[in-house]
């Protein structure tokens, strides 16, 4: 009889513990998985009764990684309530800030979080590329690890310039933006983006963005890899070689259902191309069959979450967030609700964006091998190829048209409801807001991690990464790196955490004054 190990906890938080994954392993294979968010957020309750614009100040402080992203969702909800369309220049600046946050997150997640596991010597002692992986990704020492911190740090200056204040800017307001950068600052941003782009092409891709975008299929990808040593030695090339060898193209299938809200509303007059007024397409896909997105199909199921139980799953305009953590022992296991789209379990993130947009390479990967850790992670690493060129275009357009408007006046917030639905680095993010008498009466946030890391729903269906874990082979239950790859390929973020310094062996002197 196969050995059954119950209650294995997968160590995902490298320092703290807001996300807990428990799995059962039978005969070396994961047979059950539960994902639990262990921290109650409660932002929704905090927002009620506050001033109509307070979401612009409060929600960017929800997360240290996605500050601009929350600001963008909050302001789009308010634009909708005020029925205002921001001027083109405001669109460009808002989009640029969000794109910078996404690009820096993508490269940091890839190198510092995902590929840091490639330098896990115990797990990969026998991998032929282990020594090379260690030279690249060893935390605080690997060449790529340090390079990505340096380069992403430089790129982030663009957010500081555009936002006028750093960190924690609230430069987006209903109707547009509050800061109008000087021409010299816009030119500085352009240089920063150009330099970042050169580094990204040289180090991450090993080729030009145009060459990368010519890849239309898995066989094209193989040909690209064989074409040149610079492709093989780039981070993308190395990722492909390492992960194929480790079987990551067979790991972490998941629901094979994809959701993207679409992203980056296009200025009315711009060279950047898009779909239905947005640069990134919105849609739902069952495998690679895409159907149009309808916001009304989103519901939140709380049947397995520690909230007051309602009769049926509700749309976020109607849903409540009322913590209730007693009774029903065992059935409830997470502070994350279970969002569903059209009653389906979906995954969201860069791979979903690629599939919904009909990207030929990723559609081919899914059709041939199904979704996988490798496809998901590759999609994240190469997403900047779709963002960086448009960033340059919008900066040029801003320099040419700086004299045009950045703000359409919104004197007061009318009563009403609106949704800000965007793509965060980790996937679909929505803020659903109701305003009455200039006060917030309702605020619901569904984060990408709620989609990807949801618990079971009323029908007992697992969330996306719970599902993706099933069938994962675990070589060593004490070092379950394979399960880590599966969950990390979704780039989990369970609220940005308590991060206070904890006591170690060395301590400073206790002080009650200034004497030491």
């Amino acid at each position: 009889m196969a050995k059954i190990t119950k209650g294995i906890n997968i160590p995902l938080n490298r320092a703290e513990g807001d996300l807990e994954i428990n799995v059962e392993i039978e005969g070396g294979i994961i047979t059950e998985a539960w994902s639990a968010g262990t921290l109650f957020r409660g932002f929704e309750g905090m927002m009620r009764g506050r001033g109509a614009l307070d979401g612009l100040v409060m929600t960017p402080r929800v997360c240290g990684i996605c500050s601009i992203t929350h600001l963008t969702a909050a302001v789009e909800a308010l634009d909708a309530i005020a029925t205002v369309t921001p001027p083109d220049n405001a669109r460009r600046l808002r989009n640029l800030a969000l794109m910078v946050e996404t690009v820096q997150s993508d490269v940091r997640q890839a190198i510092l979080m995902f590929m840091a596991d490639f330098a896990n010597r115990e797990a990969y002692a026998d991998h032929p590329l282990a020594a090379d992986a260690s030279r690249r990704y060893q935390p605080l020492a690997g060449r790529a690890a340090l390079e990505v911190i340096r380069e992403s740090k430089r790129l982030v200056q663009v957010m500081a310039i555009i936002g006028g204040q750093w960190p924690h800017t609230s430069f987006m307001v209903p109707g547009g933006v509050t800061s109008v950068p000087e021409i010299s600052k816009l030119l500085q941003c352009r240089i920063i983006v150009e330099r970042f782009c050169s580094w990204y092409e040289r180090s991450i891709l090993g080729c030009s963005i145009d060459r990368w975008l010519a890849i239309q299929s898995v066989s094209d990808l193989d040909a690209w890899l064989d074409e040149s040593p610079s492709h093989q030695e780039s981070e993308v090339g190395f990722f492909i070689r390492f992960s194929r060898q480790a079987g990551m193209h067979t790991l972490g299938k998941g629901p094979n259902r994809y959701l993207s809200y679409g992203n980056l509303p296009l200025p009315l007059d711009t060279e950047v191309q898009g779909t239905d007024g947005r640069m990134t397409a919105a849609g739902f896909a069952a495998s690679t069959t895409v159907i149009p997105f309808e916001g009304s199909k989103i519901t939140e199921d709380v049947s397995h979450a520690w909230y007051e139980q309602g009769a049926i799953p509700l749309h976020p305009f109607s849903g409540r967030t009322k913590p209730y953590a007693s009774g029903q022992s065992g059935r409830l296991y997470s502070w994350v609700k279970a969002p569903r789209y059209g009653d389906e379990v979906v995954e969201t993130g860069p791979l979903a964006e690629m599939i919904v947009a009909g990207n030929p390479l990723f559609c081919d990967m899914i059709e041939k091998d199904g979704p996988s850790v490798m496809a998901r992670q590759l999609a994240r690493m190469v997403r900047p190829t779709g963002l960086l060129p448009s960033m340059a275009v919008w900066l040029n357009e801003l320099v040419e048209r700086r004299g045009d408007s950045f703000y359409h006046s919104v004197r007061s917030m009318p009563d009403g409801q609106g949704a800000g639905m965007i793509q965060a680095a980790r996937g679909a993010l929505g803020h659903w807001v109701k305003i009455q008498d200039e006060k917030i009466t309702h605020y619901q946030i569904i984060t990408p991690t709620a989609w990807n890391g949801s618990p079971r729903d009323e029908q007992g269906r697992r969330g996306a990464w719970e599902d993706a874990l099933i069938g994962t082979p675990i070589k060593d239950s004490k070092n379950p790196v394979e399960a880590g790859h599966v969950v990390r390929s979704f780039d989990p973020c369970l609220v940005c955490a308590v991060h206070c310094l904890k006591k170690g062996e060395t301590r400073g002197a206790v002080n009650d004054g200034l004497t030491r």
Partner: protein
Amino acid sequence: MKGSIICIGNRFLEEDAAGLQVLDRLQAMRPLPAGIELVEGGLAGLNLLPFLEQGGRVVFVDAVEGFTQTGEIILLTQEEISQIPSQYFFGHDAGLPYLLAVLPKVCDGQLPEEIVLVGLEGRCNKETIEKAAKMSVTMAMHGLRDLG
């Protein structure tokens, strides 16, 4: 010498909010002495690196756990912070030891001449917040070394 006070933490979590309570107090005390820059560091993590490339003196203010008694304040030097055993992995929760360990390897400008942490242990009352605010100004102006 220029001095920066960088208050870090999470306003929405009581046990991690002390740094930002000090920020609020410092904002109410404005104007601060000349040459002192006040930064809401929040959860910005690696995105705080640009503030550590401008030379001068940097004072972090943050909640700490397990160093002293609840409600007390502790001062730690850069060396002491760096010696705290920590997993040097980047996560969404990468903390101060990670930031300081990576800093010299990626710095584009001038490293700070001195880094000090004003640590607040556990839940703090108004008096402790007040004391920490004054202490961080003194630290930003004079540092710990000068005080011997």
